[in-house]
């Protein structure tokens, strides 16, 4: 068999190599064995594992997937077209709905791109509050993932813990911005408002609760033998493949790529003021992806704590004209969103609204690897792999 001479597998680490070879072997077996009875299995569009309406069509041979293809588009809302008929400040209310679990994080890169074109920078206080809210939306988003992960593997308890603790974070976001899910709080040049009184102390208490939640999930789920045996070595993505498909965020770091846009790019947010660790995992399997997300939630609570201690005083809004016209130019800004790299390529013609906005959402790239990844896996593993890749339908379809 050609597996041992496979150029991809030759570059991998030992452990990763074994899992990769196992998956390739499963694939090869499918090719040589007589296909006795094929079957086409349709998963979704309404299925708890699909976080919305993703439909997966899988051709099976026995219990193994021969070919699988996700079918998206059940939630395509045409945001790229709609942005072209809106003014710059109006666009944020649209893009809030892309990744609806971490809405505030969607607004930030677009606003930063517009600010870059206008050559405006938000005051330091606004940058710090942006960063805090950004991390809070990450916690709100990923804590639900951690709970939901359990449900998809047949454990009911984690999701109750997740909803209980996510509620505290949503309350914080609501008290600061006025919106639980869609804050629409970011403005070109700063923020709509300052933080309410007492918010900082409240947040610190909540961050402690969230760290406890992470500990609970870690012992309850990650230490569980069934969980481990269902995720370890399942859905291995080697480093090369991950980069080729443009995977980002935890999915990329789980394949051993040490890259975090919060740390590795200069961006007018307060990440350079805080000390945090970027976690990576060498395995590239489902377990690694879940584990990275757990660590990131914990890390995010620490970032928020540090930022709350040093938050500067001053205004939260720079001087910008009442009617915002963005000068002609092109700008690309991406940030490390809860789901991965989210970026906007904004083309402006000096008009009230953008000429073209390309929305590069993380889930679209993350899920585009599934036809490659699902080949040769067993049916129950489809659910594990999809859960661990973690996507939001609004983030795929836009």
């Amino acid at each position: 068999m050609t597996i041992l001479n496979d150029p991809v597998s030759a570059k991998l680490g030992n452990r990763q190599q074994l899992s990769y070879i196992a998956s390739q072997a499963a694939d090869a077996r499918l090719n040589v064995e007589l296909e006795t009875e094929g079957m086409t299995l349709n998963i979704g569009p309404q299925h708890p594992a699909t976080h919305g309406t993703l439909r997966i069509i899988a051709r099976l041979d026995g219990e193994q997937v021969v070919w699988a293809e996700p079918s998206c588009g059940y939630m395509h809302r045409g945001y790229e077209k709609l942005t072209e008929v809106r003014t710059f400040p109006q666009v944020t209310s649209l893009i809030n709905r892309i990744d609806w679990l971490g809405s505030f994080a969607n607004e930030v890169p677009f606003i930063l791109a517009a600010e870059k074109l206008m050559n405006v920078e938000a005051p330091p206080r606004a940058q710090w509050i942006r960063t805090i809210l950004f991390e809070l939306s990450r916690i709100a988003n990923v804590s639900l993932f951690l709970g939901d992960l359990g449900v998809q593997l047949g454990a009911i308890t984690p999701v109750f813990l997740a909803f209980r603790d996510r509620e505290y974070v949503l309350n914080l976001i609501e008290s600061a911005t006025g919106g639980r899910f869609h804050p629409n709080f970011d403005r070109i040049g700063g923020l709509k408002d300052d933080l309410p009184a007492g918010w900082i102390d409240e947040t610190k208490v909540v961050m402690k609760k969230l760290r406890n939640f992470c500990d609970e999930i870690e012992t309850l789920l990650f230490g569980n033998e069934i969980f481990q045996s269902r995720t370890r070595g399942i859905g291995v993505i080697p480093r090369d493949v991950a980069l080729q498909y443009g995977l980002s965020g935890a999915n990329l770091r789980a394949s051993g790529v040490d890259w975090d846009l919060r740390r590795d790019q200069t961006i007018p947010l307060a990440y350079d003021k805080v000390d945090f660790k970027v976690w990576t995992h060498p395995d590239g399997d489902s377990f690694a992806r879940c584990w990275i997300r757990l660590q990131e939630t914990r890390e995010a609570t620490k970032i928020v704590d540090q930022l709350l201690d040093g938050i500067p005083s001053g205004p939260v809004m720079a001087k910008v004209p009442k009617i915002i016209k963005v000068p002609e130019g092109e700008a690309w800004v991406s940030t490390e969103n809860p789901l991965g790299e989210m970026g906007y390529y904004v083309v402006s013609r000096g008009d009230l609204g953008p000429f073209r906005v390309k929305i590069r959402s993380a889930s679209f790239n993350n899920i585009s690897i599934t036809p490659w990844l699902l080949r040769g896996v067993y049916v129950p593993d489809i659910i594990t792999i999809l859960a661990s890749l973690y996507f939001i339908l609004g983030d795929i379809d836009r």
Binding site: E330, W332, N365
Partner: protein, 232 residues
């Protein structure tokens, strides 16, 4: 190299020199040779490179192999034709407004209506690059880069159904989002946004005063004149 200086106002930004990005562009020009049509470096920000249509696939391959741009960020298209419908803010009872119909390309220029835009990143140095290429006006067809970056597959499918760009060598250009029998290419500028045609845009009637902008009038910014445009 063309300069974006007219868009920046602060002099401190203009004099900034970005040695890493300048060196990268010089290296790319050496490797690709005549394939590079134009390039632009915005110091501390980004790189834009435009390559010829014929060398498209080979250029991407060279950028990946020689310059280690191994991370595929996205592929998309830009339709540079100004929309004949504007932003849909017109009153249908009024005579049609005069609109710009000249196709003006963006950074690094362009000779065609459609351009492809690809962003690649070097995963070791975290240096990103935006690569543009002209898509011929007569055929709207260009080579697929699926063989170089497998991740381009879905992006090309999306560009195919939204912009009507054909990709030679793509394994499967099925629609991702639209129904099979959908006619037209929604992201092209001449495709009307029907929601705006059915119910005309009422104009900007609800401008929220922004904090910090209260004394704008004193600064002599007379941009308020824009607000009344289209409002009936």
């Amino acid at each position: 190299m063309s300069s974006p200086a007219e868009t920046t106002t602060s002099p401190s930004v203009e004099v900034k020199v970005d040695t890493a990005r300048d060196a990268m562009v010089a290296a790319i020009c050496t490797t690709l040779g005549a394939a590079v049509v134009d390039s632009l470096v915005k110091p501390g920000d980004d790189i834009w490179v435009r390559v010829t249509t014929e060398s498209w696939c080979a250029s991407i391959q060279a950028l990946k192999d020689v310059h280690a741009f191994d991370y595929f960020c996205f592929l998309s298209a830009i339709d540079w034709m100004p929309s004949p419908y504007g932003r849909g803010e017109d009153d249908p009872s009024e005579p049609a407004p005069v609109r710009d119909t000249v196709i003006r390309p963006g950074y690094t220029g362009g000779d065609t209506r459609m351009q492809l835009l690809v962003r690649l990143v070097n995963s070791a140095t975290h240096l990103g690059i935006n690569i543009k290429v002209d898509v011929p006006n007569d055929s709207f067809t260009i080579d697929s880069i699926c063989t170089v970056f497998a991740g381009a597959n879905w992006h090309e499918r999306e560009a195919h159904e939204m912009f009507g760009i054909g990709f030679t060598g793509h394994p499967d250009l099925r629609n991702m989002y639209l129904p099979i029998d959908f006619e037209g290419y929604p992201m092209r500028k001449d495709f009307p946004l029907l929601a705006r045609m059915v119910k005309p845009w009422p104009g900007i009637v609800d401008v929220e005063p922004l904090p910090g902008g209260a004394d704008d009038e004193k600064d002599g910014t007379n941009e308020d004149g824009v607000k009344v445009e289209g409002a009936s």
